[in-house]
């Protein structure tokens, strides 16, 4: 069994982008018109129809823009552990992050194409890594995925407008080779073994992540939070009060329900992330809402037959991490 998994994973290297159809807003609700990934994909490789969500593996250039843009995490990067990226960058004095598309690129940690970096990722990278981080984009101009540079710049600008953190001091997008401050880590004996340990660990976690889950097979009734929201939730406690407030205003959502609600609780089933809960049949007192589990997709309001759900960006005066009465 174990052998099979390892051999399968090693021999049949699958496409880097995994699809979880059960998360897709249009798969959950047929009247939804979310077009995020279709608009974003420069290769036009994504197809959404009555059979499901599909990526044309031939034309897809794995720029990961779909991964970053999907509000509910329908796309995820296979065999990739972002937490280990943070841990490894944290050990280095002037850390450089790059992609693994160019084997000669100078970087301490290499990830799949950097198009996956969302605003939330930037917040986490600026908070969790002590030293200023450089993102090596020097080879992007020679790459088929070079267009991601403008997206990353835009995202970094946007997040800087929203959050009172000096992002330009913490994260630098480096496009010119001369500007890159890269020092190869000299390896002592200990470091070498540490590196081998880390690489093995990273390799095996990738190997066993979702080992049982086949593509498109996750039950629709399972609730799961998109990775970027999960990241934000995990970093939240590390932030100062001012930043917390700004994050609550920009990345969290509040929900209210008019008193005409007939307690059909269709929204509870519809919610892809499990942000809504019923209070049981006995109490009939309506819904519970947890803002930290809400990705703001608006499916609940979209689906509500009598139109009583109001969702708005920004949460104030409530604890985002508990189920509140609404």
């Amino acid at each position: 069994m174990l052998n099979d998994i390892i051999i399968n994973r090693l021999v049949y290297t699958s496409h880097l982008i995994g699809i979880n159809q059960s998360r897709c807003l249009r798969m959950r609700l047929n009247i939804n018109t979310c077009n995020g990934c279709l608009d974003q994909c420069p290769a036009g490789a994504i197809r959404i129809d009555e059979r499901g969500v599909n990526i044309n593996r031939g034309t897809c250039s794995e720029c990961m823009l779909c991964v970053s843009v999907c509000p509910s995490g329908s796309f995820e990067i296979n065999k990739f552990d972002f937490y280990s990226v943070i841990t490894r960058l944290n050990d280095i004095d002037s850390p450089v992050m790059g992609c693994n598309l160019n084997p000669y690129l100078n970087a301490h940690v290499k990830t799949p194409c950097l198009g996956f970096l969302s605003e939330e990722h930037f917040i986490v990278l600026s908070t969790a890594i002590e030293n200023p981080l450089q993102i090596n984009l020097t080879e992007c101009s020679n790459c088929r995925n070079g267009f991601i540079v403008s997206f990353l710049k835009k995202r970094l600008e946007d997040v800087e407008k929203k959050i009172p953190v000096k992002f330009h001091e913490k994260i630098r997008l480096v496009e010119e080779k001369e500007c890159l401050d890269y020092h190869d880590i000299s390896l002592g004996r200990r470091d070498l073994f540490k590196m081998i340990k880390n690489l093995t660990l990273q390799g095996t976690t990738g190997l066993f992540q979702n080992a049982d889950a086949g593509e498109n097979l996750q039950p629709y009734s399972d609730k799961a939070l998109p990775f970027k929201k999960e990241l934000l939730n995990k970093t939240f406690d590390l932030l100062n009060e001012e930043t917390k407030e700004a994050i609550l205003v920009n990345y969290y959502y509040d929900l209210s329900v008019d008193k005409d609600c007939n307690h059909c609780f269709a929204c509870v089933g519809m919610c892809p992330t499990g942000a809504l809960k019923t209070r049981g049949k006995e109490s009939r007192q309506g819904l519970l809402f947890n803002s930290s589990l809400c990705n703001g997709c608006g499916l609940c309001a979209n689906f509500c037959k009598i139109n009583v759900i109001r969702i708005k960006q920004g949460l104030t005066g409530k604890n985002p991490f508990v189920f509140n009465h609404i």
Partner: protein, 255 residues
């Protein structure tokens, strides 16, 4: 492709409820709770008229596997979690169901809450988001101290299958449902695939239930439908059911 349907002969039906029990054992449906019946095969008692001219009917009910199913139209997910099979069976896919209960609302033969709505039965039942789906059989509290307690414990000690565990394999639905989804009769498709009839048909001691291909003129169901005037439940709903009722328990009243 056949188009499966069922004919229930009310003159033969003695109201013993064997169909209901057979269905519960075959499909591991749980006990009635929170306004949900979980009876895929159920029966209702109808009394009409005034003494001495009384008409009493036991009417077995189940999913009608309609040709124009309201539940399928209502289902919001893609691909549909409730859909029509090529063989005419209205199937439910456990993996894709999100538990929004729109099918239950749309179905004219179902009620959201049989107690609140004072409904006699409900074809579609809903498993709560939070509660265990097999509370009764997974409960391990001891009734007699030091003795065996729940069904699951007794069966474990006896080395038998737990009472809620008739195992079958089907790509679309599970033998035991998970939390937060609806469930309904699927004409025992796992049996039909193996050229067996649904278990309620098998179990009926008086042979009141006949299952077969409505498109095949030579089948028993087609023969019965030609011979007797057949009725369906709530024809005004426009769902075109494929479960038909013929005759009546009182021969004199047979049309």
């Amino acid at each position: 492709m056949p188009k499966y349907g069922m004919v229930i002969d009310l003159q033969k039906c003695v109201g013993c409820g064997a169909c209901g029990i057979a269905c519960k054992t075959e499909n591991n449906t749980r006990n009635r709770a929170d306004g949900q019946t979980f009876n895929w095969a159920d029966y209702i008692l109808e009394t009409e008229g005034r003494f001495p001219d009384v008409k009493y009917t036991v009417r077995p009910v189940l999913c009608n596997h309609c040709s124009n199913p309201a539940c399928v139209t209502a289902c919001p997910v893609t691909p549909k979690a409730i859909f029509k099979n090529e063989n005419g069976i209205t199937m439910h896919n456990n993996e894709r169901c999100i538990g929004c209960r729109q099918c239950q609302e749309a179905c004219p033969y179902s009620a959201w809450d049989v107690e609140d709505e004072k409904a006699d039965y409900s074809v579609i039942s809903f498993n709560d988001f939070e509660k265990e789906t097999q509370e009764f059989y997974t409960d391990t509290t001891e009734i007699i101290k030091g003795g065996t307690a729940s069904g699951i414990e007794i069966s474990r000690k006896a080395g038998a299958l737990p009472p809620h565990r008739t195992k079958y394999h089907h790509p679309g639905y599970k033998d035991v449902r998970q939390k937060g989804i609806v469930e309904k009769c699927i004409f025992c498709e796992h049996r039909v695939e193996n050229f067996e009839v649904p278990y309620c048909v098998d179990a009926c001691p008086s042979g009141a239930r006949t299952f077969g291909d409505l498109d095949d003129a030579g089948s028993e169901v087609s023969r019965l439908l030609r011979k007797y005037r057949a009725r369906v439940l709530k024809p005004e709903a426009g769902t075109r059911p494929n479960v038909y009722y013929i005759r009546n328990f009182k021969p004199a009243l047979t049309a």
